[in-house]
Each structure stands twice: as C-alpha cells, then as structure tokens.
Amino acid sequence: MRIVAVADRRAPLTATRWFPLTVGALTIVAVGVIFEVLLRIGVLNRYIIPLPSEVLAAFERIVAEEGVIERTGTSAFEVLTAGFACIAVGVPLGVLLYRFNILRRALEDWVAALAAAPIVLAYPLFMVLFGRGSMTVIVIAFAYGLAPIVLKTVEGLSETRSVLINVGKSLNLSEAQMFWKILFPSAIPSIFTGIRLGWTFCVIAVIGVEFLVNLGGLGQLINDLAERYDMPGTYASIGFVIGISMIFFIILEWVEKWLQPAR
C-alpha cells in the first residue's frame, strides 16, 4: 500500500528534465523519416530536397574531405575577435552614454538605428576598405554585435534601483566608488544579456558574410557545396553550423551562470 502511494507521488514523466529533450529529438527524427518517405515515393522532388539518410551520410564526408575542423577554427576566430571587440568598445561606450546625458541624447538613437540596419548590404564597401579576408568579416560582425551591448549597458546602469544609490550616498561614496561598487555590479545581468545578444548577431553575421562573399570559414563551405550542387553536403554543413552554434551558446550560458552565483 505504501509503495503504491510513493509510486503515485513520483513526479510524472512529463516533469522530468529529459522529457522535453527527448520529445525534441524524436520530433526531428520523425520529420526526417516523413521527408525520407515522401521523397522516396516521389511526392517531393529529390533534386531540390536531398534524402535525410544521404544528408546523414554526408556528415562524415564533409568532416573528412572539406576541412570542416579548420573552417570551424576560422569562423570561431572571427566570431570571438568581433565578439570581444564588441565588449571592449560597447561596454565603455555604454558607460559614457549613461554618464554624459548630452552624448546619450546625441548617440542613443543612432546606436539603436545601427541595431536595425541591414549593414551587410554595404559589404562591397567593407571589402574595399578591409580587403577580401577575415578582417572584413570581423568588421561587419563587429558592427552587428556592438549595438545590443551598448544599449543593454546603458539600460542596466539606468535601471539601478534608486534605493541602492541612496545607500551609497548615505555612506558618502565617491563617484568612482559609486560606479564600481554599485552601478556597475547592478548592471552586470543586463550587460550579460547584451553580450549574449551581441554575440548571437556576431555568429549570424560571420556565417552570413562568409556565405555571401565566399570567404573563409563555415559560411563559405555552405556556399561551395551549394554551387557544386552537392545537396546532401550542403544540408549536412548547415546542420553542422547549427550544432556548433548551439554548443557555443550552451557554453556561453554556463560561463554566465558561473560568473554570477545566486542572483
């Protein structure tokens, strides 16, 4: 009787940590199987959509023959360079915008506009300025990733609870102490959100520009394979990029949690 009761009280299957992950994975498998069947019986055109089984098989090939590891290294280098440059420029710029109201009124709308602008359309200009190489990719990715970090830094500083500032005032903090001991730590969660957004844009920009101008890393690989009309290879490399990006953001989340305990 007691055992039954305990069993009844156990958390339902849907509440476990693995349930959503399993459902997600099974959904992908199911979609793959459905496409496989539709393609094989001729409902869908095999020349436009490759067989999922062939895509799966192509993974090994692109890793072995297309230098995927090296290309991942190139793209990762570009993302990280642009990403850290965004932090190095964006956070101080955000602080300046917060500190000097005139600067903020002058620049904040422009920064917001930068966030919305399709900068990638200006890639020929960037190529003229920075050459047909990694530098161009990095600069464009930098332009994409900068705005969210600036804006989130300003937001985080501005949203410091006034009572915490009053605690600082009552203790006679100097302006520098007020910044380093109260404003900045209070803004850190928001700055992290900005960094996560900014780095997402950096990843998208790097892969996109590589694809667009046929340059360097993983983006170029997709372009190459598509031009060779290697459909399974193209899809496999797209899948590879998605997988790598997911791993990248999982790591970023870990780092973020590790840096801010219990908030």
Binding site: V167, L171, S186, Q260, R263
Partner: protein
C-alpha cells in the same frame, strides 16, 4: 566585543541629557509656488543619547521627507537639523540609515553586504569579516553569512540592511519603516531583536513608522505627526519598563498607550483617507 563597540562610540555617556540630534523648526515644500506641497511643516523635537524615539503618522504626512532631511539626502530645507551643533547639509558620518525599500546588494553575499561600509574604509578583510560576523549574529543571522539576498526572506534581508548600517557604529540609527513590508508576526519578533540590540549597544535610534503597536513596543518617546502638512501633533512619553520584549504587547499599560495615541492619530488618518478618496474620485472623473 560588544563592550568594545559601545566603548568606542564617542559621546554616549558624557552628557546623557544633552540631545545628540536636534530637529529645530524644520520645513520643506516640494514643487513650484502655486502647486507647492508642504511635506514637513515646522517640525521640532530632539533625541537624547541612548534614547529610542519613533515618529508616527499616516502615509503621505512627510515622514520619509523628514528621514531624508536628517540623513542629509535632501540638500535644501528650512530650519535646522543639528548634530553636535553642526547643521546637516549632506550625509553625516554619525548617522546610519536603514531605508524603507529593500536595499541589500543582490550581487554580494550576506557577509559582504554587511562588511561593505568597512570595505570602503579600507579595513583589512579578516578584521572586517570579524566585525561583520558580530553584527550578523546580533541580528540573528548566524550561519547565513555565505548566502545571497535572493536566498533570504524579506525579514532576513531587512536584518542584513540593519546589520550593514550598525557595522559602522553610527551614533544615531535612523530607520524609515524598515518593517513596513513584513507580516505582523515577523514584525513583532524583529521588534524584539531591535529592542535587544538597542539595549546591548545603547543605540540612539530614530524610527519612522506608521505602525502604532511597533512604535509603542519599541519607543521611549513617540512624535505623533499630523496629516498634510506634516506638523508635530504631540510628543508622548512611553514609560513601559525596560528591558522589554514583545510580551509587553499584552499588558494593560501597553493597551492604554496605544489607545491614547490612537486618539490623536485617528483624526489624522481619517483626514488622510478622505483626501486620498477625493483624489481618486477626481481622477476617475477626469478619466
């Protein structure tokens, strides 16, 4: 350690009847000439060393404004607030403030919150942790040193704020409705803690509150304020014996004091209620 704390506090027993804090004809308005709101209207009283004084009044009567003036947070005001004969024009090191809103630093552990004022003064880590631990124990949070505020209840966070203020050995502890957001039971128990601390440290305290039982439970004197403009209606002596605990709440003398002050307060509170109802009605008419 406790005896060291009190012995290093200057000016406590030198001249016990000379007020440490004098509030003399203090006056404050907000806004422009026509729409000006008088928040504090010629308020005068004083606080003697080791004394526990409460300021009570309905919401909106100017209590927080007075708190901010005494704490030096509002630069401009009429009249004088004096500590040691010196007029307050900015934060004074002799005054330790505890704010009405929750004010712990969420990015610091309990011990680093409490040690914060010492850290600013460059006190070495081991010493400031020792002193922080002393006050953490005093507010009854032993064992929570490493926790972060997000892991604490509202009452515990408010105790962290109080310990953080006490760690600087302020000659005057100034608190603005520190327990307003807490339930009645927690409030009574924290009241006990405050009484204990006050007795242990001979801590001169000025407590702002709108809670009648809290004021009577803790105070030697109660300054009753009127609803807008905030004037002193009466200053009542509370002669309940010390040391006190929350048991005092059940005594006849306690009940008499509460009834007595409520008599004065009721008029003001109902005036406050009527005015805010009028405002609400006017707002609704305006849509």
């Amino acid at each position: 350690m406790g005896s060291v704390q009190t012995a290093t506090r200057p000016g406590v027993s030198l001249d016990a009847d000379k007020p440490v804090l004098i509030i003399d004809d203090v006056y404050k308005t907000f806004g422009d000439a026509e729409e000006a709101v008088t928040a504090v209207d010629h308020v005068s009283f004083d606080v003697k060393p080791g004394e526990f004084v409460a300021v009570i009044g309905p919401s909106g009567c100017g209590k927080s404004t007075l708190f901010n003036i005494i704490g030096g947070m509002l630069g401009e005001y009429g009249g004088d607030v004096r500590i040691d004969g010196e007029r307050i024009a900015g934060p004074h090191p002799a005054v330790g403030m505890v704010f009405q809103e929750e004010s712990t630093f969420p990015w610091r552990s309990v011990i680093d919150n409490v040690a914060f004022p010492l850290e600013l003064r460059g006190v070495a880590k081991s010493e400031r942790y020792d002193r922080a631990r002393h006050f953490i124990g005093m507010v009854g949070l032993d064992g929570f040193e490493k926790r972060y505020p997000s892991q604490l209840s509202g009452g515990m966070k408010q105790r962290v704020s109080i310990a953080r203020t006490l760690v600087s050995n302020p000659r005057i502890l100034l608190m603005d409705e520190p327990f307003a957001a807490l339930d009645e039971q927690t409030r009574l128990l924290l009241g006990d803690k405050i009484t204990q601390i006050q007795q242990e440290l001979k801590q001169t305290t000025l407590l702002i509150t709108h809670n009648l039982t809290e004021a009577v439970q803790l105070s030697d004197r109660i300054v009753v304020m009127t609803y807008r403009p905030g004037k002193v209606k009466r200053i009542a002596d509370i002669d309940l014996a010390r040391p006190r605990t929350s048991d005092v709440v059940g005594s006849d003398a306690f009940g008499r004091h509460v009834a007595d002050i409520w008599n004065d307060l009721r008029e003001e509170a109902s005036r406050g209620m009527q005015e805010s109802e009028q405002v609400a009605r006017a707002d609704r008419r305006r849509g």
